[in-house]
Structures are given as C-alpha cells and as structure tokens.
Symmetry: none
Subunit: 406 residues, 2 copies
C-alpha cells in the first residue's frame, strides 16, 4: 500500500487536477487471428496520442498472480492494501446506494429468490425481477415495520433488479456471519450462522428478521423468498482528504463503484449518465469543485465476462471517442487503467497485469510508447509495479508532494 | 532496504573491486526540440560502450513518486532505507569535514549572517563571505573559550563560505531542537526551542552558547551574527564492513557526500580534486587499498538546478571523457547512476526514476541496450527497482555473495 505516513508529511497544496479513468477489467489476452488484445485491436487514436505524449506501465491490483475482485481491485488503485482492508459486499451495496453508514451498522446484501411449495429455492434470482418490483417488495417489507429487539433498527433499501440491502443498527452488533444463500436450487435458504461468539446475537436477530420479512412476501411470486450475503461492517478506511490532501469525487454508473469510492472519502457525484460521454459531461459540471475525479467505466468488464471480444473492443472505442471532452477540461494528470484484467477469452477476471497510461503534459517523462496496449505497457517507462504506487505517482506528477529530506 | 541479515550470512571474501559512480541528479526529462534528455543528448561514447557491454535499469532512491533530497538519495544508493534512517543536516556537515563524531554529540549547521543595528537579520548569508573569513571568525570564537556547563564541550569548525558546524558533547544531550534561522530578513534570529522534554537542557545550552559566541563577533561586519539549523545526533547506521564485508572509500568534492558516506563506514579519501578527472586520479592512488569506491560528481545536479540543459549535458560529457582513466584500473563491477533526478526543465530534484548502468565484464548478462539514457534504462534488463537493490546486485556481480540454501 501507499506509505500514508510518509505521504502525509510530504503532501503540499496545489491547484492541479487529477483524473483516474478506470475501464473495469481493461486487461485482455491476444486473440489468435491477429495476436491483438481488445485494447490493442480497438481503434483508439486519442489514447494512442496520450500514450505517445505520456508514459506507460503495468500494475498488479492486489499482488502478482492474484485475480482480483472489483472491490479489492479498486482499493488497490486507490492506494490501500486490499489484503489488509477487506470490504464486505453488504457494505459495498449499502454505500453504493448512498446509504449513510455508521459504526453501529451491520450490512448485508439481499437477493429476492423464488421458493417452491416445499420452501426450496427454485430460482436464486427470482426470474431477475425488474428494479420496480424489487422496490415495491422492499416498500411492503418496510410497511410491516418488523421489530427484532429493543434498541435495534433495521433499514431495507432496494438496489437493482432482484437485489436489495439490509442494514441492522444497534450497539454490540457484529458481522462475522455466513451467507444464507446455499448457492444452488432445490434446497431451502440457510440460516444465518455466526462465525464467532461476538456475532451470535446479530445472527440470531437477522434470522428473526428474515423469518418475519419472508412471511410478508410469501405470496409475491416469483419473488417470494430471500437470501442474505456479504454481512459486513464499515472498515473505517483512511480518507482521501487525510492521506492525500485531495478533495475527491467519483463518477460511476454502477452503485458498487460509488460505494467503494465513498468508503475512501470520495464524494458521490450526482448524475444521470448512461454512457461514457455522459459521465464526462458530469465531470465537466463539477470540474472546478474537485482536485481528483475517479471516473468508472463498467462495460469493458461486462463484455469481457460475456466472452465478447468485439463488444469489449467497442466499449474501449466508445471511451476513446468520448475522451476529447475530458481532455478539454485540461486535467494536469490523467491516469487511464483498469482495476484488473478481464480477458474475453477467459470470460472472467484474471491475474494478468493491467496496462496503465500516465499522461501529465508538464511533468511526465515521455517513454516513446507508440500506442496504448498490453504489450506497449509491459515495456513502458514506468515498469511493472503494484497498484498501490499509482497514487504517489499521480500526486508527484501533479506537484502535490514536497521533497523528502535535505 | 537491503536485507542486511540475509546478506551477512552470504557475504564471502573476494579480491574483486566495485566502483559506484554517482552523477548527482543524473535523471532528466526530454527537451521538446529533439525529445532527448541531458544524458541522451550528451556525446558519451564511453558510457554507451559500457551500456552495450553491460545491463541497464532504473531505480527509485526512496520510493515511487517520492522526490528525494541528497541525503536520503545516497542512503538509498548505499542500501539503507532512507525512511527508517534520517540523518540531520548538522550531522552531515560535521562528518563532511571529517569531524570524528561520538554518541554523546549534538551537531548543528551554523550560518554566519548580517545583523542590522536593531539586531534584525539583513543578510541570511552574510554576503556569502569567503571560507577564509569564516575560518577566522571560527578561530576567534574558539579563542574565547566559551563554557556552557560542567562536563559539556563545544567544538566549532568552519565548513565553506558562510557555513560552519557546532558540535556540543556531553552526557544526556539530545537534538530535537528547532532551527534558529527565521528563514527571512528583517527579524532577529530565533531562540533554539526544544521539541521534546529530553532536549530542553540541550536547547538551553545552545542558547547560552549562541549568546556568548554572537557577542564575540558582534563587530565583525558583515558576519556579525549567526543562525543554527539541522540539530541532530549520529544515527548510528550499520557500517559497510559489517553489512557488506567491504572496505569502502568515498571520493567527493563536496563535504556533504563525504559526510553521508562516512556515516556508513566509508573512509574519506584525501584529495585535492577539482574535476572528475582528478577524482579518478585520486581513485587510482588508493585503488589497491579498497574493495569499494564511491565516486561522487556534484555538478550534474547543480546545472540541473540552474535549469541549464546544455551545462548539465556538458558535465555528463566531462565524466564520459574522463572514464577511460577509471576503466584502466579494471574495476570488476562499475555502477553508474544518480541519487535522484534533477531535470533542468524543472530546476529541482524530481521523483522520476534514475537511470542505472551496471558493467561487470565477467558476470553481467548483457541486455543489448544500444546506449545509456533514461529510455534505454527504462527498458533495460534490470527493470525498475528500488535503489536498495543496487548493493546486492553489485556484490553478486563481484562474486561476493555465496549461494543461499542447498
């Protein structure tokens, strides 16, 4: 991880602006036909120009050989050791919808599911009900006003499709609890089971709540049941303002990325973007209010997971085509990278290092890379490094770090 | 930092000789006209030949993104973690003039300054008086034989120009004391103020001494006052002989570099060199007495800080032209690098990685680098690494490290 103690001593104010543009799952593998990855095959005149004017490298989000999930991958990009700081899925979902967490909260991600007459799960995602149906179910559960114990409050919020979030608030609650999703159909949901003594009472309260809430929706086919996953409490991460001296904001279409960014103290920028171009428009609107903007592009990863090389390539081309609007804002430092690799050939996240482009017209040592791709990045001037080095590099190139020692 | 515990087990004797040739602030940025850095633009037939016969890489003296001062930069080159081992400026000045420090000493760097009739500083450097004037003032102060307390001795030595060093020796002294230089004119020097309780008495003794010594020179215009900075005690660094098994010497024109080298146990080689060629002559004179020579070239950094691209380039060319005399000594390992980057475009130290050339005719894996420059080094066979790796590399190529494990 970034050496926060050292950085804190060296942080100096500046008027410079940094943009971290993350194409989720950017890294790929070459296809046999022409030995090009998605990034290399994509027509990216703007990224290639930035590569020629900047400096490339490749990074490991967590560690060499480790395939990273999206949460740890982003923590790595933000300079936090993802092994030291674990963020439960429940917390990510809660902060992703802007739920104001406190230190007394245990969060869980909920999935509405379909139960058959015997109470066994017939569809773990309840036929992927639309978000509106999810919201109506949550409203119904909230209307039932379920009480689990004196001094304990329960908040339920819809997220997207069949997903919702449950937050239990009270003194002495703890989140070491196994998920209730059996991960297969034909069996009933599991009981919430505590993994340690401190979480026993919390697990019991969740079981009470699940029973009562499930009864409320028992006749709401296809979403007539639920499972809870990712029980977790706020990991209390150091904040961007404190460790980097940056007023930071996140622009992301997917809740989870807003969530992880808000955990490190980034403001969640309000927007209605549905495309990269609209995300950049949102960046333009708040440009003068922030030192640092994290802009997240989801669909590179989604198309990689679909195994669709051409579609992932097209998302990269969409980013490239939209770039001039971002560059028109004149960031002092622009970092373009991914949070992990998602080669479409593997249809999943992978451990391969992630290409990175650092552009900083006033201060970068150009490395004469001809274009932005995995292989040019592997030979780039920044070498191969851990993602934790990205923030110190960005701060340095933005003139935000004083000299160390005489 | 280098893993001293591991190395100590592996160190084996050898008759090989290692030279670490440091061009201070070597790393640069490309100029727009031809996209060449100072090192790349310089005519360096000898360095380029060594590059073709050797192996290149680039290193971070302290850490990624960190701009290093000269002290930490050299500690990094020597294999010591500059974050763990901080060396105060006073200690650097004292050891730089060959003052034999003990564990009971607190050192401070002194500046003679000019005071006006009201006692306010009118020139923080006393018109940059010549070293001879400085020496005369110190002699006068020493003749006054100022006593501050029983059992406490004070040593005063001239350094260069308006700079001198004060060493206070006694039991229970401590150096956590703020400088007395207000860093501006029009105000009087500050009192020495302790930053912790353990240093309170020492600060008081320094205040007494400053008062008495200032009285001695009160009529010596323009140097009729003084400020003290960089209060510090010997950081007790592990020594080269112990951690690397090397009898080591330093050849440097500037005192500070002799100072930091002597703190790691290098002998300060007596010489009257004023040029790189003369430094290499000094190396030739002591060649058979040492396993390891650190040769320091100052003016690459100075010209970089001046913002003078051509002048920095010329210093590099001077080094290159002098190289045959060093090579005639037939070192087994020659490392050529810098302690940090000082791009003339930035007129200051910077965080950019530092190019490094490793030449070891008997043992190096040539990497087919065509020449010595920042961009060839970034793509060199040694990759991108921390400066702490340099000493293990040098020892290995010199046949001075045994195999680890069976």
């Amino acid at each position: 991880m970034a050496n926060f103690t050292l950085l804190k001593d060296l942080i100096q104010p500046a008027k410079t602006r940094i943009v971290l543009l993350v194409m989720d799952g950017l890294g790929g593998l070459p296809r046999p036909s022409d030995d090009q990855t998605e990034l290399e095959a994509a027509r990216t005149p703007n990224l290639d120009r930035l590569a020629r004017e900047g400096c490339l490298g490749q990074h490991y989000p967590v560690d060499v050989g480790i395939t990273s999930g999206s949460g740890p991958g982003h923590l790595g990009l933000f300079g936090y050791d993802p092994i030291q700081y674990e963020i439960g899925r429940g917390v990510l979902e809660a902060v992703g919808i802007g739920f104001p967490l406190t230190g007394r909260d245990v969060c869980a991600r909920g999935n509405f599911c379909s139960l058959d007459a015997a109470g066994n799960i017939s569809d773990r995602r309840a036929g992927r009900i639309p978000t509106e149906t999810c919201a109506a179910l949550v409203k119904k559960i909230n209307a039932a006003n379920i009480k689990v114990a004196d001094g304990v409050e329960v908040f339920v919020e819809p997220v997207q499709d069949y997903r919702f979030v449950v937050v239990m608030r009270g003194d002495g609650l703890s989140g070491a609890i196994d998920e209730t999703d059996p991960q297969r159909t034909g069996v009933p949901p599991l009981q919430a089971v505590a993994r340690d003594a401190a979480s026993a009472r919390t697990a019991e309260l969740f079981n009470q709540w699940i029973k009562a809430a499930s009864a409320v929706i028992a006749n709401d086919h296809p979403a007539n049941g639920m499972t809870l996953r990712g029980f977790a409490t706020d990991p209390a991460l150091p904040k961007y303002k404190d460790v980097y001296g940056l007023k930071a904001g996140v622009i992301a279409i997917y809740p989870m990325y807003r969530g992880v960014a808000s955990l490190v103290g980034m403001d969640v920028i309000d927007h209605h973007a549905h495309s990269v171009a609209e995300e950049f428009e949102a960046a333009a609107r708040v440009w003068s209010d922030y030192d640092f903007l994290f802009v997240h592009v989801k669909y590179t990863d989604s198309r990689g997971e679909d195994g669709n090389f051409d579609a992932k390539m097209k998302v990269i081309e969409e980013v490239d085509a939209a770039l001039p609007a971002l560059l028109a804002l004149k960031p002092d430092v622009l970092v373009v990278t991914g949070d992990h690799s998602t080669p479409s050939q593997l249809k999943s996240h992978s451990w391969h290092p992630v290409p990175l482009l650092l552009w900083a017209p006033a201060t970068v040592r150009r490395d004469r890379s001809p274009s932005f791709g995995e292989r040019t990045s592997a030979r780039g001037g920044l070498g191969t490094f851990h993602a934790a080095d990205i923030m110190p590099l960005a701060l340095a190139h933005a003139g935000r770090l004083a000299k160390f020692g005489a």
